[in-house]
Amino acid sequence: MPDLPKKKVGIVACSGEELPAGTVTRLAALKVLEELRPGDTVTICLPLFLAGGEGDRAFARFYPTIAVDGCDKRCAARATEMYSSKPAASLVVEELITDQGLKLSGSARRLDESGQKAVEITANRIAEWVDELLHKHWSRRTGTFIESMEVVETPKTTQAGCLCGGTIPSQEVMVNGGRVTLVALPLIFQQCSQTAKPPDDKTADEILEIVKIYNQVPAEEEAAYRVALLHEYELFCNQQEAAR
């Protein structure tokens, strides 16, 4: 198995600049990333689902993700599902704090005491969910939990682990004359190279199997993928050799 990033929970905040609750989402996410669960969480800027690459769009498939929204437009949750994968959990700050009898005042630019309290409440809720999600088995192939465990539903009511521009390494390869992007392929090649696997048929089979864990490979195209992967791995090995 390649040395892919250890299991972490992704946090996507709406960061809405127009509302105090949007600022709360950003600061709460940062509090979790920097203070409460720094080793267990990563984040991504929401716009990268559109402006970034395939690796960015794979974010919510690789990491069970908590979407943190300020208002009921739920930009983070809906955009994450639309462009990446369904968040494992989501919350809306305005609903969460209303449940706790708190009303936000102040501006989006500078939170007042109520805003700071909202940050604390929201961050603590996120941290609780991080702990829950870390104990569940996550499939990076399907972007869902493997076991039929209860997924946290939306309540009714430094660098901060930022991965922008380099979420999951990916590589384009030519398959049947078409260009496809394979998530995690650079890491897979690296792992095979480090264990001195030669670019041969046996290794090609192994690489294909690992690639299938992280990517959708149509059954009828497996042979073509295998050929392409072996070719790319040969190139990778040659580059490694030349660099020595």
Binding site: S15, E17, E18, G22, L33, C75, A79, A108, Q159, C164
Partner: protein, 147 residues
């Protein structure tokens, strides 16, 4: 200029993990709240990502000024994707190259260098928008130039 439709739209990048993202946001707030509150309005990038109709209409109807924190230029890309016209795109890095003495640090709270960089950027943006208001309309919609 109080009609929202006539206001220049300011779109910061929404970056969450780096100081430069915070600088974009601070500069946007300074322009829209302090320097040119009557001439500008802020649009959250998350709304454009989702395809919110009101936000898309805002960037389609008014010239937009984007402020990006990194080379991925999310704000500029999203305004264009949303059918808007980028009248001017600013990047924090370009501004920092002109003000090397203001090194930004911190994300939740910018250090003094970051705050001064945001202020310098806000003033550049305000000056540019003031020029829009004195230039022929066709000159404000060329887009795509770094400040």
């Amino acid at each position: 200029m109080t009609d929202p439709k006539g206001k220049v739209v300011i779109v910061p990048c929404s970056g969450i993990g780096k100081s430069y993202g915070t600088v974009t946001r601070e500069a946007a707030y300074e322009v829209t709240e302090d320097l040119l509150p009557e001439e500008t309005r802020l649009i959250a990038l998350s709304l454009l990502v989702l395809g919110d109709e009101e936000a898309r209409a805002a960037v389609a109807e008014s010239p937009a000024v984007t402020i990006d924190g990194c080379k991925l230029a999310c704000a500029t890309k999203m305004v264009k994707e949303s059918g808007g016209i980028v009248a001017q795109d600013f990047t924090v890095l370009d501004c920092y190259r002109r003000h090397k003495e203001f090194k930004p640090q911190g994300i939740v709270e910018l250090n003094e260098g970051g705050q001064r960089l945001a202020h310098a950027l806000a003033e550049e943006i305000a000056a540019t928008i003031n020029n829009f208001n004195h230039a022929p309309v066709s000159d404000t919609n060329q887009g795509g130039h770094h400040a």
